[in-house]
Each structure stands twice: as structure tokens, then as C-alpha cells.
Symmetry: C2
Amino acid sequence: MAPTLNVKQATGNQSSWNTLLPDFPKGPLSKYRKKASFNWKEMAMFLDGEDIIRLKNRIFSALESDPFFARHPGEELSREKYQELTFLRCKRLFEYDFLTQQEIMENPLKILNLVICIGMYDWSPCLQFFLHCGVFGGTILSASKRFANFVKKIYNMEIFGCFALTELSHGTNTKGIRTTATFDHNTQEFIINSPDFEAAKFWVGNMGKHATHAIVYAQLYTPDGQCQGLHSFIVQIRDTKTLLPMPGVMVGDIGKKIGQNGLDNGFAMFHNVRIPKENILNITGDVSPEGKYSSSFTDVKERFSAALGSLSTGRILITAVSATNLKLALSIAIRFSATRRQFGPTDEEEIPVIEYQTQADLGREIHALSAASKPLSSWTAQQAAQECREACGGHGYLAMNRLGEIRNDNDPNCTYEGDNNVLLQQTSNYLMSWMNCIRNKVPFESPLGTINFLQDYHHIIGWKFKANSVDDCMDSSAPLAAYKWLVCYLLRESDLKLRKEKQSGHSDFEAKNNCQVYFCRSLAIAFVEQTVLQRYHDYTHDPNIPSTLQPVLKNLCALYGLWSLSKHLAVLYQGGYVSGEQAGRFIQNAILELCSRLKDDAVALVDVFAPPDFILNSPIGKASGEIPDSRRLLPQFKNQQRMQKGATILTSKLEKSIVQGEGGGTQCLAHQRGD
Amino acid sequence: MAPTLNVKQATGNQSSWNTLLPDFPKGPLSKYRKKASFNWKEMAMFLDGEDIIRLKNRIFSALESDPFFARHPGEELSREKYQELTFLRCKRLFEYDFLTQQEIMENPLKILNLVICIGMYDWSPCLQFFLHCGVFGGTILSASKRFANFVKKIYNMEIFGCFALTELSHGTNTKGIRTTATFDHNTQEFIINSPDFEAAKFWVGNMGKHATHAIVYAQLYTPDGQCQGLHSFIVQIRDTKTLLPMPGVMVGDIGKKIGQNGLDNGFAMFHNVRIPKENILNITGDVSPEGKYSSSFTDVKERFSAALGSLSTGRILITAVSATNLKLALSIAIRFSATRRQFGPTDEEEIPVIEYQTQADLGREIHALSAASKPLSSWTAQQAAQECREACGGHGYLAMNRLGEIRNDNDPNCTYEGDNNVLLQQTSNYLMSWMNCIRNKVPFESPLGTINFLQDYHHIIGWKFKANSVDDCMDSSAPLAAYKWLVCYLLRESDLKLRKEKQSGHSDFEAKNNCQVYFCRSLAIAFVEQTVLQRYHDYTHDPNIPSTLQPVLKNLCALYGLWSLSKHLAVLYQGGYVSGEQAGRFIQNAILELCSRLKDDAVALVDVFAPPDFILNSPIGKASGEIPDSRRLLPQFKNQQRMQKGATILTSKLEKSIVQGEGGGTQCLAHQRGD
């Protein structure tokens, strides 16, 4: 595989570091920063580059000085109020217009950084903004030039949009969607209809309260009664002035969720709602004025895939969202732990077929990768957020320290844009589709090259673990080799199991279902972990990396590889790759040794990715490590200093003011208690 | 080990089943109940017995018909209001007086069932009730007869109590507690003082808003300036009429938490607060009028342990709380999954020393067991609640379906009453304390017999996995034997590692710290899993179990054993207990086969432990399986039927009523958007 390294611009000089990345306030964490084996500013400059750091600083300081984004510690917002505030914040993000078109063209990664910066503040306004501009706006923008006027209104926020695919009874099974769009050639309109409650659009972000327009996925029926499959349509659902529902549209909010409650997820039912013919998003097919259907896709399966092509983008975004949540949780937990003491793409017409074929291969590979990276990242972030919560003990359990919010807000990443376990099946299906080439020794490769190593399958399957000491495991090449064997082994076992299941008379559906646990599911996870580790390994072993940063990056990569691999240790033994008591000990001891080496770097490492205190918004995760500040957030403690300076015994007047400041509910409770 | 079986009374006859356990409403789940291999009513009768079922029915129906306990779907309570309502509910629980003293004497397990039933409704009022009656009241009741008048007031709820041990900077490390109680023999008072903010009592349940009295743990200082160690004192913190803080007491609420927000956790600082001499809880020691200290414990360590003896009770309770949360989450997830379609003790004076010694042995064993059962159960419930949430997809993410609340309310179980990882160290310390006896082949046994199998250590360590087929793994005896080997192996490895660490010059503290991951921590977990599995195995293999129930119980036990064991498979291979590719496959295939066998029993199994729908309070977990009812909880859907019966196009009047019913915020937002 060709290394697709992304080594950023030079790290610049010390004075530019200090201008862009000012020192953190001195405090209990200062001594840990001095213990670090590297300079966190150099690392941040190396990883992000000056341009992205400037963008981050611009966004973070704009939010911090904007009253709409003020943090109100201890404030309890009702869901209704939180949704209103989220919408106002979303509107402010429009007004800021943080990125010019030119900046985006020069570096598309800036969009991702914009999303991450806003998300670090709060995912609700971030997702609302992204759903409108990116998912709703982006889909329409890429569909056809005839929506130019529409697009203008979107980016002026004259209209507000949502993306309505999922139905109450059909989320993962998109083929089962039952909303219909019937073409009436007499009026040149499509009639959008929900046959029953089970077919109501559901979970749709922005739809609950604010959206005026929706991209609605429906089964297209031509006047000849033929169903042409899933297509998308722009449907106005609310009046743009009054926000009242349009005739025939039943729309509302789905209610409180476990997290992300600022975002208004909604439902909608359509009762023969008529929309102009032009409102079909003619990406995969269109209808002539006479009602004749045409499509650039001859294959129904390919047409279906193209209709849902934009979903991979969502999964890739969720991968980034999960990684961001992991950064937030780690920033809080590592800083607190160091201070707490206790004991010691788009489609166009007329593309050459050969080009399209390649595009499909790339699309399949991106689909297979995003369908596994999303589960890996969302589960990793979910589990790590819980571990960070527990690592901070009771303080992690206090709402104001934000670890609960991070975990709860991350939770839907495991479900939306495809349930994690279902998505993993798509990755394993993709991998198993290469088994014929492997068996018949037919050469093959993929556009991104992630499966090219499988050409050496017959060789790799015979590999054995070669480490003879802990030292032999201290580089990521050791777990990487093990992963290559693991993917080949699980591929062979999954293929054998599937053929056995089919031979025993099971249907294709049953056979696949019986192959998931211990086989296909493990295969998909091992594959994506191997892919991530390969990239990480190539990146950290690149000679362009500053020598001051390379050791810590290599240690981190080795630790990630070994730690991930250790969860598969039973399979490595079972399949004979590893044998003997010592081999497992080498891996375990290497993990412990790397943890010990990285302990003193941990604070500086989170300094590299932690957002400013205002954004992180966690008293126990403050950059200075000055935890006692958290007491100021308790209104009761505002009087504390007065108390200690005052008389030995508090006057009853002062007591009263303390209790009254704390909330008047207590006195009526004494009464209710029957005194 | 003598089996300590707890086989309940006879299951009675079919007609008594139907009286006590009425049929569930017919619905989508009916066919799953018919597919079950056993009768859920017989199982419930067998497990609980008629007496406990009557108690549960009494509690559940009282709560369901009490307006104070009414469920208000979609209601958003502020934390303040939720705390008030919790206190009112706690007071109602007092008025119900569900258990007479006689009932408790006849069957102390009824208290546990009372706690579980109320907890299934909501943990906040349950914990508030238990903290006052059990922890606060129970501690004072068992301390001395001189508190009789006090006890009367507790059980009349004339005073309301809390248990203040933890300080802001010292939770797990109770020896580090810094609150002082200095005896002033001139006034015959103790002076309670918090030296600084770090020594403030913190996290104390009931203290935030409602408690009038606290049991305060403090370092006792006699007039000679000598510190006599940790003792507990009754301190009045609020006026019983006005609930205003007492002079010198600074008390308040600690703020919002991730879960259990109905419970008022609080903090308190004492500024030379004087309390009568009689208020010392003279369990471990007392002071004479002249200020001379006396104690029945000569050993300081033993005195310290006795002072904290009541903490094991808390951990045992948390084990039950976690198991209850697991039942709730499973009831919801299994019922939903079956309907959702997509693709196919006390101390007294003058006890003989020999008796006391035994008591200490029992105390140590109970401590070692509770210190590991709490981590096992709280982590299992936490992970399972998350898996149940994900298994229910988006519906699991909706707040009204309660899986988020269950997970968030379960979360503190991992931290309070001792952090899980710290507690596990105490279990491994206990186990490793037997290594000298093992090495020197000195006979030993423990009061509950849980470590007696270690006498066969030298024999067990040579065992090998004997299964030659999947069938050989289908009984819990297979994983049980593996667990015995695993505990012995991890004990040996932990002991070797510790000695090696000490030999290399590390201090005792460092050496122990370096032995946790992969060694002592794994040992403690394997030991408690082995203990649970041994009990479970003995229970399910008892000849007294009705033949109609035994197969499903045996399958469940085997599945639990194999599933738990599979997480240790790498160690089994590494240590040579298991070898070859097939052995691992036998275990994996047995797990898959047992899952397949139990699939049709799953609905009936949750029927055995699920509380009534009112208590379970999850639309997707209803006993009938009639999920569409959930739409009625959305206020927007109340108009739906009208719409479908009405004209093709909704009149704008109806639209308006729908939007207005949903909340008036939308119109002002249209305005704010600048239209």
C-alpha cells in the first residue's frame, strides 16, 4: 500500500508557537508539562499547521466573546429553551461566516475543523448548522443547476432544511421505506404520501421545530403504476413566515432524548402533499412531462447505492465527532488525574463508463471503510468516555464537569447513520467479496489500496509471532504484522463458516446471520483496526517528522496497536500465530512499559488537542489544573470567605442569606414534613 | 465448599400462580411466551416464593394508585422540583410502612425486596429512604441503647438524617479524613471542626436540602492532645422547624449530577460546632468525663476497620441495585427486540475474644467478597445497559424509553462506596494473604468457604481443559473447572510478580501498584466470577428444582459461565490450560448454541423479573409488546386520528392548534430568524 502520508507544514519557530499558542496559566499542571518528553506547542504546530491553528483561535475566541454563547454554570435550561438557544446559536454561526469559499477550496479540511471546533463547544448547534448547510444544502447544491435560486435561499437562511430518510419502522433497512411520490402528469406534480404511521419520517434532525423544507426520500411511482425505486424530493413542510405546517403536513418534535437535546429531532407525515415536478432531486433518475422515467443507472442496485451515496459522508463525519469526544473526555480526565491526590463527493451526466466503474470501486471501498470506522470510533469514544468518567470518581459524576454530557451526546453516534453492528456486516461483505480472487490467485487492488495486502494472503496466513523479548514489541510493526495475519485468518475462518452454513441447507440470510459473532463481525473490526494502525504506523515512521516529536508519536502508535491487538489475543493463540506463555507476557509487558513511558507525556499530549477552558467547560479539566476554582460554581460557597473572616459563630442573619441564596424550597418542605 | 443453597418454597399450584401473577395483556409478545420452554409464573413462584410476590404486588399497586407517584410522560422537572417531589415520595414511603417488625424478623430478605421494588420505580426516593432509615437510623440503632429517644424521632421522621464520611479531597482514602472532634472536658462537649475547604464533607446523600442531623466521621482528639483516630458523632446540621443551618454549620447542595438528580447530595463545613458528649457513637471507643479514652479494640487497625464496618452493607446493597438495573434494562430491550422488525452486622461489649476473632475472619471474607461483587455487578449492569440501549437503536435513545436513565442512574454504583478498581485491590490482597498457607501446605478454611478450594491449589494448577466437543461444554461444570484453574494460575502469577517487583528494589506501595493490571486486578475479577458461578452451578444442579424449570436454568448458568470465561480465553491459552484451535471453537460454539436455545425463552425469562408496566415505565418495554402506544406520548399525535378522518387537506385552523399545542416558541423563532 502506498503510504498516503499527510505530514503538515513545518512547525515554524519558537516565537510563532508562542504567538499562536500562548502559555497556559501556571498551576499544579506546570510540573507535568515540564516532565513531558516533547513541547506540546511544537506538536500542535506539526499536527495542525499554522493555518488551522489560526482558524481554531478565530472560532474559539469569537464564541468566547459572544453573549449568545456565554456559559451559565449551574443553569438548568428546559429542553424547549435549549432548543431555542441552539437555533439562535446556529443563526449566529451563519453570521460569523468563519470560512470563505476560497479558504474552503484551498483546504477542504477546514470545514472539518470548523465542525469540530463548534462541536467541542456543543454538538447541538454544530449538528443543526451542519445538517442545514452540509447535508440539506450540500445535497441540493450537488444535484442540479436548476436549484440555484433555492441554494441562495439556503445559504441566506431564508429557508431552513432537514434530511428526511428514516421512517419510524424503517431506519437501517432503507429499501423498506414506504413513503410514496406519485407523478401526476395532468398537473405536473408529485404527490407525497405516508401510507400510515409506521411510514412517518422519524428522528429527522432540525425537523422538530425549525425546518421549513425537507429532502424527503420516497418510492417514485410513474403514471403507469410502476415503482421506480427510492428517490429524493424537496418538500416544503412549514410556512417560512409563521412556521405553521403546510397543508397536509403533520410535523412535530419527537421528544426528549438521552443527549443532544438542543437539536430538534422531528417526525412528519404527508397526506397527499403536492409538490412541483421540478422538486425531484434528479441525481439518480428523472421523469419526463409525459411521465416517462429515465435514469443514467441501468442497474437497479447501483441506482439505489447512488441514491444513498451521501450517507458515507455522514459516517466519516461521525468518526471525526467520536474522535473529538474522545479528545474532550481525555482532556478532562488526564488533567484531573494529574492533580487529584489520593494515596500516593457528486455525480454528473456524461461521465465515461470506465471512469464511473472506478468511481464505483472507490465508492465501495469508502463505504466499506466508513462502515467500519464509524463503529470503531463511536464505540471507542463511548467506552473511553465512561472510563474517563470513572477515572475521575465522584467528580466525574458531577454534571458540571461535563463527562456525562460528553458520553450522552456521543451515544447516538453508535446508532444513527446505520447501527454499528449492521454496518460492520457491510465491511465484512466487502472483504469476503475478494475471496474468489484470493482463492484463484487473480491479482487485484482497490483504489485506496486498503485491501491490497490481501494479495499476499497465502503467505501471510503462515506467519508466526516473532518477538523474543518485550523490546521486540516496542514498535508498532509488531502489532501491525499480527493484525495482517489476524485479518487473513478471520477472513479464512469466516469464509469457511459461511460455506459450511450454506452446505448445511441454510438460506443465504440465515447462513450470513449465523456467521456474525466470532467471525464476520470480528473480521470487520480487525480489518479497520489494521487499516488505522497501518496509517498511524506509516505516519509516525515518516522521516519528515521532527526528531523531537517522533519518539512520543512512535510510543503512542505502538501502544495503540498493542492495546487494540490485546483484545484479540485469544484468537492469536487459538489460530496458532502466538504460542507459549512468554509471547502473551511480552505484549502485556510492552503495554505496561509504554503506559509508564507515556505517563509523563500525558498532560502535554492533551494540551495539544484540548480546546480553551471556555470551550472545554469542565472545572476539573482546567488548563491550569487549579481545581478548587470549582467551588466558586457552587453558589453556597460565595459566602465562604466571609464566614471564615467573620465571627466564630455565624450570625443567624448570614445563615439565612445563605439558605435563601440556595433556593426557597426548603422551608415549604419543612412544612410539608408535617412539623 | 458446602453448598449454601437457597431453594425457595414449593411453587404451589397453577391457580395460585394465576391469582398472584395475572396474565399479561395479549399482544405481539404472546407468541414468544408460548414458545418458551417453561412457564414464567412457575419460575417466578420458584425463585421468589408466594410471600415475596405478595409483598411486591402490595408495593407496586400502592405506588401505582398513589397520585404522589403518578408518572407524567414527557414532563420536564427542574432539579429543584425533582428533589422536592423525591422528598415527598420518601415521606409517603414512611406512611405506607410496608413491612412490620415481625415480617422483617421472619424474613430479613424482605427489606432487600422493598428496596428493589421502590428502586425499580426510581432510585432517588429509594436511596433517600434507605439512607435515612438504614444507614443513618441503622447505625445509631446498633450503636448504643442511650440513643433510644433519638431512634424514635428517626422512625417518626421528626428528624431526617445523613451519613457524612467522605470529604472533598478524601473519599477512597478514609484514613486521610481531616475533620476533627476535640473533647472539651470543661463543658463536656465535642468541638467539631473542618480545618479547610478540602476537609468539607462532600457527596453526602440527603445533606443537600433535607437532612437535620448527620453522622459525622472525625479524628477524635482527647484533652491531652492525642489523636485517637476515626470516630463518628451525631451532629445537628439544620433546625428541625425552619431547616435553616445550625450556628457554625455551612451546608448546601453540590449541584447537578449525571443521574439520580432527585437525591440531594450535599456538602458541609463545621466551624467549631459544639455537640454534647453523649453524641459520640461509642461503637469503637468512648471518652470519660475527665477526657480519658477507652476502646474495646486494642489494635488500631482493627478499631479502624470496625469504625467502617457498615460499608460492606452498602457494597452488598449496590450489588443488588446493579442487578436490579440489569433487570430493568433487559426487560425493556428483550421485549422490544422481540417485537421490533427490521430485515428479517453490629458490635457489642464483652464478647469473648475467640468469638471476635471468628467475627473478624467472617468480616474479612465478607469484605473481600463485597469489594469484588460490587465492581462485577456495577460494571456488568453499566455495560449491559449501554448494550440494551444500542440494541434498541434510536428508540433506546429516546428519553421516554428509560434506558438512558437506567444507565445514568446506575453509573455512580461504579464509584461510590469505594471506586471499583480500588476495591478489587482489597479482594486480591485477601486472596494473596493465603499464599503462605498454600506454599507451606498448611490446612486452612474461611467462614463462608469461598476460598476453601485453594487448598487443592497444587492439584488444580495442573488441570487441563478436557472438552472434546461442543457438547462437553454445554454444562456449567466446564467453565467452573476452568475458573478454578484460572484463579489458581492468576494467584501464582500475581504472587510471583509481586515478589519480583519487591526483589527489584521497589517499595511495597510501588510493587503493589505495578502488579495490578493483568495480575491482581484480573485475579480479583476471576475469583468473584468463580464464586458467583459456583453458587449458580450448585443452585441449578440441585435436585429440588422443579424438572420443568431446571433445563432453562442450567442453560442460563452454562451461558453465564462460558460467556464470562470467554473474556479470559487469552489467559487460558497463555497459561496452557487450553491448547489448539478446536478448544476455543468448542467454547465459542457452545455460547452460540446456548444463545440460540435461550432465544425463545428470553421473553418469558424477563417476564419473571420485570416489574409492572407502571414501574418499568418504558413504552417499548410494555408487557403486551404493543409498541405503537408510544405515539400517544407525543402530544402532537393526539390530533392524528382527527386528521386522517378529516378532509384531504388540513384546515389551517387545525394546523394552528397542533403547533400551538406543541409550544409557542416556534413563532418567535421565525421572528428571531429575521423574517
